[in-house]
């Protein structure tokens, strides 16, 4: 597995094969943004771990070549983040992004540009939100037969204030596209959380779905677990773990450990 470990904008570990071209530039003097650029040439996987003890600004881009399938696994921990992601997908390119965050304060903007016919973006994001967190996700269906599946799950705790803004855009004439958004926040505080799902579609020949849910776990879910002898706290902890681990296939032990720090 290709792997990069970045601590406070410094690459502390890097192991990449020839299927990935990677360029980085140190922080710009004016905006102080650290650039990370990836070009994905052949089918491959990449795991990136970010850890920052001080404020970071990062601009991260992935260019995925035609017919290439790319899996990206990311974990992020740390304070004050301002992050911008851009994914450019050419014809029949596919990207599957799985991310787990445990950060304090973040503003993140992620854009998918589905430029080639048959391009597909699959995004599965999990976060434990204990401070201000705002995620903007834009998906541009710039070609026909493009598919996007965006899933955001967050558990809001302590001083958490979690916002998901998800916009999927299908332009006129881009036919046979499939658009799917699903966002859920389990809010364990009285703080305000927001999900803004936008489907901006200027074409009839599109399949589009979205779901957005903010709240607690349902009574039915709690009843089922409690009917097997788990008390309320244990049932809640198990549901949270399931909610955050769903779809996570990498670095599971470390992620479980992080979750256990909150819900043992």
């Amino acid at each position: 597995m290709n792997k990069i470990h970045i601590v406070d904008n410094v690459i502390s570990e890097k192991s990449l094969d020839s299927k990935i071209i990677f360029n980085t530039s140190s922080a710009d003097n004016f905006l102080n943004v650290h650039n990370l650029e990836f070009e994905i040439l052949k089918d491959t996987n990449l795991e990136i771990e970010y850890l920052n003890n001080e404020e970071v600004k990062q601009a991260i881009s992935f260019k995925i070549k035609p017919n290439v399938k790319f899996n990206l696994y990311e974990t992020r921990q740390g304070v004050k983040n301002k992050i911008q992601y851009k994914f450019f997908l050419e014809q029949n390119a596919q990207v599957k992004v799985t991310k787990f965050y445990n950060v304090s304060s973040i503003k993140e903007m992620t854009s998918f540009y589905l430029n080639g016919e048959g391009a597909l973006a699959n995004y599965n994001f999990k976060t434990i939100s204990n401070d201000k967190e705002k995620y903007d996700i834009m998906v541009y269906h710039n070609a026909s037969k493009t598919n996007s599946y965006i899933k955001n799950n967050g558990v809001n705790i302590q001083k958490g204030n979690l916002v998901f803004n998800v916009s999927s855009i299908v332009f006129n004439g881009k036919i046979n596209c499939e658009v799917d958004q699903s966002s859920r926040i389990i809010n364990l505080t009285d703080n305000k959380c927001q999900i803004n799902p936008n489907l901006l579609i200027d074409e009839n020949d599109v399949v589009a779905n979205h779901s957005a849910n903010i709240g607690k776990f349902s009574d039915e879910e709690m009843f089922y677990l409690q009917s097997r002898g788990l008390n309320e706290t244990q049932a809640l902890n198990l549901l949270i773990k399931g909610f955050l681990l769903e779809g996570i296939t990498f670095n599971k032990r470390a992620i479980k450990k992080t979750i256990n720090n909150y819900w043992r």
Partner: protein, 261 residues
């Protein structure tokens, strides 16, 4: 020897009374079947026994081994030895069957929980139920077929070893083969652990495998008739209408109960 007693139970939800003076006693080693038309209160009964909080107990009581459990929480009842196999088992994404059962069992057994024994028993039980071994590592009921979900309920029953088993329409959604497996495994558990069983069903076909000692017909929130297995045949031939006609109970709202009180 264990005993579940339900005494003169009145239960409502959203101001509508569902159970209207329900009485029943189930002892260890007894198999009771409750049948009845749709909306009679069968599923309500099963959830109320287990302590589902969306229902309001207007009056009456539920006792387990002479201890009043009417106000106990769901998990307290489960730890006492009650088990509800549900009609529509819930899907829990991200929680594996193995994790779920390990949590439930270690919670019940405390220090006596042994991981090695747990794994061995889980493997053995999945093989009894002819379940795919991978199923224990899959998310609870997620993406399971109707039959797989019901088998999973029986798997949980086996693992948790309850003294009083309530099975709510465990036969719904089962094909002929799965029905046989589920039915036979319920009976295997019965022979092994001697629990009391309260079975809720619409159809006789499950009773080809699980032979009841008592059959009760629940209509309009109350047992209208009890008997042995021959009652099932009678219902199959004549339907519930005859019993309905002889029943004097009509629809009832809370105000009517208050008046009678």
């Amino acid at each position: 020897m264990h005993k579940l007693e339900i005494k003169d139970l009145y239960v409502s939800i959203n101001d509508k009374v569902i159970l209207k003076g329900f009485n029943l006693t189930v002892n260890s080693g007894e198999i009771h079947v409750i049948m009845g038309p749709n909306g009679a209160g069968k599923s309500t009964l099963s959830k109320v026994i287990m302590g589902e909080t969306s229902y309001k107990i207007e009056s009456g009581s539920i006792l387990f081994d002479d201890k009043d459990i009417t106000n106990m929480t769901v998990d307290e009842r489960a730890r006492l030895g009650l088990f509800l196999g549900m009609q529509s088992p819930l899907e829990i994404e991200g929680v594996t069957n193995a994790d779920f059962l390990r949590n439930a069992l270690s919670n019940k057994l405390g220090k006596d929980f042994k991981l090695f024994d747990f794994i061995k028993e889980l493997e053995k039980t999945t093989s009894y139920l002819q379940m795919d071994k991978d199923m224990i590592h899959r998310d609870v009921n997620f993406g399971f077929s109707g039959g797989e979900k019901k088998k999973n309920e029986i798997l949980q029953m086996y693992m948790l070893k309850p003294q009083m088993v309530i099975l709510d329409e465990i036969d719904s959604g089962l094909d002929v083969d799965s029905l046989k497996i589920v039915g036979e495994n319920v009976m295997n558990y019965y022979r092994k652990a001697n629990p009391g069983i309260l079975l809720i069903t619409h159809y006789q076909r499950l009773l080809d495998y699980i032979k009841p000692d008592y059959v009760h017909i629940l209509i309009d929130g109350k047992i209208q008739k009890s008997g042995d297995f021959s009652l099932v045949k009678e219902i199959e031939q004549k339907g519930y209408d005859q019993i309905k006609k002889s029943s004097k109970t009509g629809t009832c709202i809370i105000k009517e109960i208050s008046k009678s009180e």
